[in-house]
């Protein structure tokens, strides 16, 4: 018994130390946000909070419509998340629990879209958005990604484990419609995976900069990553303002994460899946 206690304590200590290492850069991001760029470039870098946050935020606001950019980021990420959850759970369910013609080739196609480096699509994507008149439109950011191959893949995997075939058959016997089965039986069972997908989609949309780089032509329509990148140049980047902007940009993700990690846990405690 004593032996297991020791090894257990060791394991706790290792995991805790790992957690601290994981946290360090995150901590420094907030520390750097409160220092002028002269101090950030010092070595060793500042380890404690400084007094330059107001100055950094002032530079940030003078260089870009920061709060507007933040608003667009939120808007795009929310739409993107809602649509992705809907479309991908539908698609994933179809791939996992139905037999239909072209199923294998369609799935290969889905996976195929995951495999193309996104910057190779820059010019053709620009041409499509131009043809649709979607340049400078937020929908050009949240619609194309809404049927994300990643999401369909995740959902297919999850349905395969968490949605028993018998349950669907039984519902069909009871006269439940196909869409009824999807909304009333499949979706509730997918709750933990939907939480995961929501988190990942929101973060991906939040950090996406190639998308807005292609379609956004006006600084007041930029989302945050593109706006913040515009502070960077090979010489003379405003590092302090950049770190302040990055830190503020991370706060919504932090809130979202705290909320959705609860959801993961509740998925466990209520024993949603039998």
């Amino acid at each position: 018994m004593g032996d297991t206690t020791v090894s257990r304590l060791g394991a706790y200590a290792m995991v805790a130390a790992g957690g601290l290492i994981m946290l360090a850069p995150f901590y420094f991001m907030f520390v750097f946000a409160t220092h002028a760029r002269t101090d950030i470039f010092r070595l060793p870098p500042p380890l404690l909070f400084g007094h330059d946050l107001p100055g950094n935020v002032a530079i940030l606001i003078s260089r870009m419509p920061f709060w507007r950019n933040l608003g667009w980021s939120l808007y795009v990420a929310l739409f993107s998340t809602v649509l992705t959850l809907l479309f991908c759970s539908m698609g994933g369910y179809a791939f996992a629990r139905f037999e239909f013609r072209f199923k294998q080739s369609l799935f290969a196609l889905v996976m195929g879209t995951l495999l193309v480096p996104s910057f190779m699509n820059m010019i053709p994507t620009f041409m499509i958005m131009d043809a649709l008149g979607w340049i400078d439109q937020p929908r050009a950011l949240y619609l194309p990604g809404a049927a994300s191959a990643f999401g369909i893949f995740l959902m297919r995997q999850f349905v395969a484990t968490a949605v028993p075939k018998d349950l669907i058959e039984a519902a069909r016997m009871d006269g439940c419609s196909e869409l009824g089965i999807y909304f009333r039986i499949v979706l509730p069972l997918l709750k933990p995976a939907l939480g995961t997908l929501a988190l990942i989609t929101f973060i991906a949309s939040w950090n996406n900069f190639i998308g807005p780089l292609i379609v956004m032509r006006s600084p007041e329509m930029y989302t945050l990553p593109l706006a913040l990148r515009s502070l960077q140049s090979p010489v003379g980047t405003e590092w302090g303002a950049l770190m302040a902007g990055s830190a503020i940009a991370t706060l919504p993700l932090l809130v979202l994460f705290v909320l959705s990690s609860r959801q993961l846990i509740s998925g466990l405690t209520t024993g949603a899946v039998k």
Binding site: F41, I123, M127, L213, R217, S218, P219, L226, S230, S233
Partner: protein, 428 residues
């Protein structure tokens, strides 16, 4: 002002009418009535320079707004490539960094400013010569006008030199004396002569070019790297590295700025604008300790520079306005000086260089009136032929240099290997 604002529909109609009018009346017509917007695409800090020129612009064109679209440096040039490739959503005016000007000038997406109605070749003698010629394409077209330049200079720590008993003239007389001085500085102060041995190579391959030679290729795409120019560049870089005279750090890294602050790097060869960055944020605490000198051995090269170009695919009326704005940004002495004062953007306009501001002592450089020196250095730089594969060639040469410096690879073998790789690409 408020009374002049019109409802959007009417504004659009007027815009179309005004555009048609300009088309009919031809060049030189003033666009006075419509509320119009010019889009300028730029990167930091050019975006700020354009913003600061707006009051002057609005004094002339109260009805034409200017919208500055700023992106990160590389993002900006990527976005410009995309816009030119599809010829849609083009800005009316684009800033281009010198490294991209040659490439963009090879395509046909930019207005040829040498042709009428611009006839900008007549403006040649108003700019620093090399800067003007760097905006020209291979077919004699003029793709862009220069706004700021980066005359190469040697910045050195005067205090470290005194401590080591090295006279400033020893740094600049020749490359050999520069390295010899570095050995003494290292021995007596412990400080490195320079940040990275690669800096020497970068300058030497840019000096003593024959007419019609580019850096790596000549006009007929023949590879030039197996030449005395490259051998000497590699040889001197190797001497620096093997004498442990370089700090082996790369520019704009934390180690680099920390090296300046702690005085572990005694000299830096760069564009004149670096003095401003050192003073403002890289190493403000070293104020008064630095001096500026010409590059060793009378080398004359440039570091960086900004140009303005007009895309071919925009409307005729906007071309008129964009051209006027280009002229303001590049030919207006006061605006050029303002950009120099606020952003260390060294004027490409010769008239701006005659301002008394150029005679003022620089406190960061111990009161030295260094701008006079830089003004002279800029005149000696010559334009370099640009080849499509220059970016790739630079990467290959840097790789081979690293092998020479770190793994003791023979210089001739290294250059022969580079030549083989480059020959495979020269005509792609």
């Amino acid at each position: 002002m408020a009374a002049r604002r019109r409802d959007p529909a009417r504004g659009a109609v007027l815009q179309v009418l005004a555009g048609g009018l300009v088309f009919v009346l031809g060049w030189g017509a003033m666009v006075a009535e419509a509320r119009d917007t010019l889009v300028v695409a730029a990167f930091p800090a050019v975006d700020a320079i354009v913003q600061e020129a707006l009051p002057a612009w609005h004094a002339r064109h109260p009805d034409v707004d200017i919208k500055v679209v700023s992106r990160q440096f590389a993002d900006h040039h990527t976005a410009m490539t995309t816009a030119l490739s599809t010829a849609s959503y083009l800005p009316d005016l684009m800033a281009l960094e010198v490294g991209y000007v040659g490439r963009f000038a090879r395509g046909h997406g930019l207005e040829n400013l040498a042709a009428p109605p611009y006839a900008a070749m007549a403006l040649a003698d108003r700019f620093v010569p090399y800067a003007f010629h760097q905006g020209m394409g291979p077919e004699g077209n003029l793709a862009a006008l220069p706004s700021d330049i980066g005359p190469g200079t040697l910045l050195y720590r005067n205090d470290l030199l005194s401590k080591a008993g090295v006279a400033p003239a020893e740094l600049t007389r020749s490359w050999e004396s520069y390295i010899a001085a570095g050995t003494r500085i290292k021995a007596r102060t412990g400080s490195y002569l320079m940040a990275n041995a690669r800096d020497i190579k970068d300058i030497l391959i840019r000096t003593d070019l024959a007419a019609g030679e580019g850096l790596y290729f000549d006009r007929d795409s023949r590879v030039l790297v197996q030449s005395p120019r490259f051998e000497r560049a590699f040889e001197l870089a190797r001497q620096v590295r093997s004498g442990k005279l370089d700090a082996r750090v790369s520019s704009w890294s934390n180690d680099w700025s920390e090296g300046f602050r702690r005085g572990t790097i005694a000299t830096q060869m760069s564009g004149a604008w670096l003095a401003g960055h050192l003073a403002n944020w890289l190493a403000p605490e070293t104020r008064g300790l630095w001096r500026a000198a010409p590059l060793p051995g009378g080398a004359a090269v440039a570091f960086g520079g900004t140009f303005f170009a007009i895309p071919r695919g925009i409307s005729a009326s906007h071309k008129v306005l964009a051209w006027e704005l280009v002229q303001m940004l590049t030919l207006d002495r006061d605006l050029q000086l303002q950009a120099f004062r606020m952003h260390d953007a060294f004027p490409a306009l010769l008239a701006a260089q005659q301002d008394p501001f150029f005679d003022a002592p620089l406190p960061f450089l111990g009161g030295q009136p260094a701008r006079q020196l830089w003004r002279q250095l800029a005149l000696r730089v010559s334009a370099v032929e640009v080849h499509k594969q220059d970016a790739f060639a630079e990467e290959v040469i840097n790789t081979e240099l690293d092998k020479v410096l770190d793994q003791g690879k023979d210089i001739r073998v290294a250059l022969a290997d580079a030549a083989t790789l480059l020959q495979g690409r020269a005509r792609r």
